[in-house]
């Protein structure tokens, strides 16, 4: 029989079975994720009052008000700065850390556990603890700096606009390292030792082996980590919300924190829905990039 030779034979081979199996997950996604997107897209092109009642189509006035809002450009630029610095810093630091953790040394398992630790703790808790640590008067950051003679007068880290954002970026990097190191480590462990041995025998220096062997070989993993981190960090909300709520004077507001204020504090539902859709489109573009990279990766490893 011909049917017996198809890959999925037997009862489950019936044509409708796979669709029945994936149907619940699709329905769920359309219900909880698809409908809100449709609802916001709809709201974003209509006049809408602060209780969310939509009226007439208003000629993209919500988008015009969004783009001409005095805070929009600032938040957009800060989002870019935030994303580029956190992702760039994370990847630049994670590659050497992964290289170290890939070596054999005493206590490597412990080192790996410690470096993965921030991953398990919620960003909300991390934010709360750092906010307390950075307190100008009673925080342990100032106390520790003073003890080592690195500071004369205490700094109000999070209440000063010149220090608040760089501090947030540094903590953003710190919490993004575990995931990034994990994926890069996965890439490093897939490398074959004999290639490196051969290069060493041929007289390649450590730097040359890294530059011309390791780096190209872990390239697919770096691509994945770059795009995924870009998406995570672009969307990162709890750290900033817990530590500064965008203050002082909006100097740490990025698009997501501003979006939350527009929607749930100022009742600007029209602008908020327009902003959501703009961000959705940006994310979609990034996702398509990621999908293309992932598919290429799948082909090259298959």
């Amino acid at each position: 029989m011909n049917r017996a030779r198809t890959p999925a034979n037997g009862k489950i081979g019936r044509a409708s079975a796979p669709y029945l199996l994936i149907l619940p997950s699709i329905l769920f996604a359309f219900w909880i994720i698809g409908y809100p997107i449709y609802d916001m897209a709809n709201m974003s092109v209509h006049a809408v009052n602060r209780f969310g009642k939509t009226a007439a189509f208003n000629d993209f006035a919500n988008y015009q008000r969004l783009f001409s809002h005095q805070l929009f450009i600032g938040c957009l630029i800060r989002t870019l700065v935030w994303t580029v610095f956190v992702v760039g810093g994370t990847v630049l630091l994670s590659v050497p850390i992964a290289l170290i953790l890939n070596e054999k040394f005493f206590g490597r398992t412990l080192a790996r556990i410690i470096i993965m630790l921030p991953w398990a703790v919620s960003l909300t808790m991390t934010g709360i603890v750092w906010r307390w640590s950075l307190n100008g008067q009673f925080g342990m950051v100032n106390a520790t700096l003073r003890e080592f003679g690195l500071q004369d007068t205490p700094i109000e880290w999070l209440a000063t606009s010149t220090t608040a954002f760089p501090i947030l970026i540094a903590i953003g990097i710190l919490v993004s390292i575990p995931f990034t190191v994990t994926v890069i480590l996965g890439g490093l462990s897939s490398l074959q030792a004999d290639v490196f041995e051969a290069a060493r025998i041929d007289g390649a220096t450590a730097w040359q082996r890294f530059r011309y062997l390791t780096l190209p070989l872990i390239r697919p993993f770096l691509n994945i980590v770059l795009v995924l981190n870009f998406i995570y960090v672009f969307n990162s909300f709890p750290l900033i919300w817990v530590m500064t709520q965008g203050d002082p004077a909006n100097s740490t507001d990025i698009l997501v924190t501003w979006l939350y204020k527009l929607a749930f504090r100022y009742g600007e539902l029209g602008i908020a829905s327009a902003l959501s859709i703009v961000m959705f489109v940006i994310l979609l573009a990034l996702t398509i990039t990621y999908a293309a990279l992932a598919m290429r990766n799948e082909r090259s490893t298959a």
Partner: protein, 276 residues
């Protein structure tokens, strides 16, 4: 050849700035959580309190109503994990084992939904839940958490399922096992580790989630653990930092311990999922 002890010292030395930065908040949590209250707001602050006051944890537990919040978090996280697996396992099985038209499309659909984060959709989700009368109800959180974990779960599980040899199931079919028997006796036992690891990831996501909880819940007695802890800090003039640090310790240590214990399998699981 390098000397192993010298090399180990060098490695730890290189890692030390990061290790210090990672352990710093934990040290702050412990130090503040056991301080007598007068010493918390003493200038200059010190790492070492005059006495280790474990009573702080008991006081905090009553004063901050953390108990009900822990219960809410447990209920929501367990319910969401179970429901998510229930929906994800069949889908992952189909994606991993069956040939059907649209399979590639389904995988792309998963990738796209995986990228969406709650914050971008939170306004729409709030409106949806309001329409269904679910605002300030824990089931609203369960539904939302399932939706945002589905793609990841299906993706992880199908990557694993592909590594389970098909031949065992085929042999069972030849021996006359029904679909149900084949699932229950052969496939699910083999897939159990993968399902367990996926469950841990979903659980940690739900346990740590903040934006949706803050938006969908209103009354304090419905608060989850992250939300309740945040409410001790957000919008208050007088923050009782000894209680807050005790609460963050209680909230993060169990998850961190699970993570540390399972670190190896979690990491290898994730790399299977990320690369496939």
């Amino acid at each position: 050849m390098e000397h192993p002890v010298r090399k180990s010292l060098l490695m730890w030395l290189l890692l030390s700035p990061l290790v210090i930065l990672i352990l710093f908040p934990f040290a702050v949590m412990v130090s503040t959580a056991v301080k007598p209250r007068v010493e918390v707001l003493m200038y200059p602050p010190s790492w070492f309190p005059s006495e280790i006051r474990l009573q702080n944890f008991v006081d905090m537990w009553h004063a901050t109503r953390l108990g009900p919040a822990v219960m809410n978090s447990l209920v929501v996280s367990i319910a969401a994990t179970a429901l998510c697996l229930l929906v994800a396992i069949p889908a992952a099985y189909a994606a991993a084992r069956m040939e059907f038209t649209g399979r590639k499309l389904f995988r792309q659909f998963l990738l796209v939904t995986q990228m969406l984060s709650p914050i971008v959709l939170v306004l729409g989700i709030f409106r949806l839940m309001a329409k269904m009368g679910f605002v300030d109800q824990l089931p609203a959180l369960v539904l939302a958490y399932v939706a945002f974990n589905l793609a990841f779960s299906v993706w992880m599980l199908q990557a694993y399922f592909q590594t389970i040899p098909k031949e065992l199931e085929e042999a069972a079919t030849l021996d006359g096992a029904s679909t149900m028997q084949r699932m229950r006796l052969i496939f699910l036992p083999l897939a159990a580790p993968a399902i367990g690891i996926t469950a841990v990831f979903i659980f940690i996501y739900c346990w740590n989630e903040f934006v949706l909880a803050m938006t969908l819940l209103r009354s304090p007695e419905k608060s989850t653990l992250t939300l309740q802890t945040f409410s001790l800090v957000g919008g208050r003039y007088q923050v009782e930092w000894d209680h807050v640090m005790a609460a963050t310790l209680v909230a993060s240590v169990p998850v961190a311990a699970i993570f540390a214990l399972l670190q190896r399998s979690l990491v290898s699981g994730l790399t299977v999922g990320a690369v496939k």
